[in-house]
């Protein structure tokens, strides 16, 4: 019986968290139009989440592309069709790997930073102080961070994909000697504009999801050292799970 009750209890807690998150998202949505007018803090957050993530995104993109080049070349030579390497890497990167890997890296690099920062602000009573001074912390602190993440994410996806393509080209063309003309021309003839659109749309959706989870977990963290640590961990775990579930739903919708 106790096990059943605990299960029920944890299920109710889960429902409560989903409800709170939805309410938090609605609150953010309502103040977004006004928040967009205050450009200065958004720029700062695009710098924090986007520009500071550039190095890790580009490094990982390069290696993801290189490994796609290796695996793709090995697989395609078995069918004697290595000139399709460009097509295979471009489509898999644009549709899946680009947005998903970028979102996971984004959650690890930028999401944790956001959650830890907000959690520490909560723990050191900075948020309470703002409320006392009649400054709305949602507008002042949470919203610019959320918007910065949403703006930065699709751009990061695009950079990731392009760097990865050059990584694949490096391995396929420079190391293995796939003809560079057929690598690019096969890619060009079979990649549709809708593939690019799908990738960027996924980037936007994942950006919204990951930023929302990060700011929510940070903002509602327990004001203790342990609470901040737990908020950071939860950010990464929940972002990763939500990204992968959303990825399946979006792919099923757009195929």
């Amino acid at each position: 019986m106790t096990i059943l009750r605990e299960l029920l209890q944890s299920f109710l807690t889960f429902l409560e968290r989903v409800g709170l998150l939805a309410r938090f998202a609605l609150q953010l949505l309502v103040i977004t139009p006004a928040g967009l007018l205050r450009v200065r803090p958004i720029i700062e957050q695009v710098y924090n989440t986007g520009a500071l993530s550039l190095v890790i995104i580009m490094t990982c993109g390069l290696f993801v592309g290189m490994v796609l080049g290796l695996q793709g070349y090995d697989l395609l030579t078995r069918f004697g069709s290595e000139e399709y390497l460009g097509t295979a890497t471009a489509i898999s990167l644009l549709r899946e790997l680009g947005p998903v890997v970028t979102a996971l890296l984004f959650a690890g690099r930028a999401g944790t930073a956001l959650a830890a920062e907000l959690g520490l602000m909560r723990a050191t009573d900075q948020i309470a102080a703002m409320e006392i001074m009649a400054v709305d912390p949602m507008r002042r602190v949470v919203l610019p961070r959320f918007l910065g993440g949403v703006i930065a994410m699709p751009l990061l996806v695009a950079i990731f994909v392009v760097v990865a393509l050059f990584g694949a080209q490096l391995v396929g063309v420079e190391f293995f000697g796939v003809d560079s003309g057929s690598f690019w021309s096969q890619m060009r003839s079979s990649v549709e504009l809708s593939d690019v659109r799908e990738g960027l749309l996924k980037g936007v959706v994942f950006g919204i999801a990951c930023s929302l989870i990060a700011v929510y977990e940070g903002y509602t963290a327990l004001p203790t050292a342990e609470g901040v640590g737990r908020a950071t961990t939860r950010t990464v775990v929940i972002s990763a799970v939500v990204t992968l579930i959303l990825d399946y739903i979006l792919t099923a919708l757009m195929l």
Binding site: V46, Y47, L94, L155, V162, R188, L193, V196
Partner: protein, 169 residues
């Protein structure tokens, strides 16, 4: 906190890089060399069998893409497939007795419609029908025909004096 100028410059660099990447994706790795202009016109062609032809497949003349397949439907009265070709307005002097054939690009490639110009003085107009068509070649039909023919030849050789079985079709 770093100075605002540094932040601005790196943010600008990041945003520029992002948009450059998007531009690269849109122009360099997608199929954009052919987009229909607004003054394109439509032709219809009736086929007995279109094989694996799909909407969006290219229409080419002498290997140059001049249009796309816009729509494929089945006409219940004529019992034929109706293929709507959308031809770019630049190619407005295609003789109206040209013929349309369905070919396959390469071994694994998709199918496309090739227009071969005829000798007529008049050009196709919007809504015209292509009179001369050649259906898609279905590989299974070819193979079964080949097998059937060779089997018929063998049995014909065995029964030498007897009249060969009537040729098919």
């Amino acid at each position: 906190m770093r100075s605002t100028r540094t932040i601005d410059i790196s943010t600008g660099l990041f945003v520029l890089l992002g948009f450059a990447a998007i531009l690269f994706m849109v122009t360099q790795i997608t199929n954009r060399e052919f987009s229909l202009t607004s003054d394109s016109y439509r032709l219809k062609a009736l086929f007995e069998n279109i094989g694996g032809l799909k909407p969006g497949a290219p229409v080419s003349m002498a290997g140059v893409t001049v249009g796309r397949i816009e729509d494929i439907s089945y006409d219940m009265n004529l019992l034929k497939a109706v293929v709507t070709l959308r031809i770019d307005g630049r190619y407005n002097a295609i003789p109206n007795d040209s013929d349309a054939s369905i070919f396959t690009a390469g071994l694994l490639g998709g199918q496309y419609v090739a227009l071969t110009p005829g000798g007529s003085e008049e050009a196709f107009k919007n809504g015209d029908q292509v009179e001369f068509v050649q259906d898609a070649v279905v590989l299974e039909n070819l193979i079964s025909k080949y097998l059937f023919d060779s089997a018929a030849k063998k049995s014909g050789a065995a029964a030498a004096p007897a009249p060969a079985p009537a040729a098919q079709e």
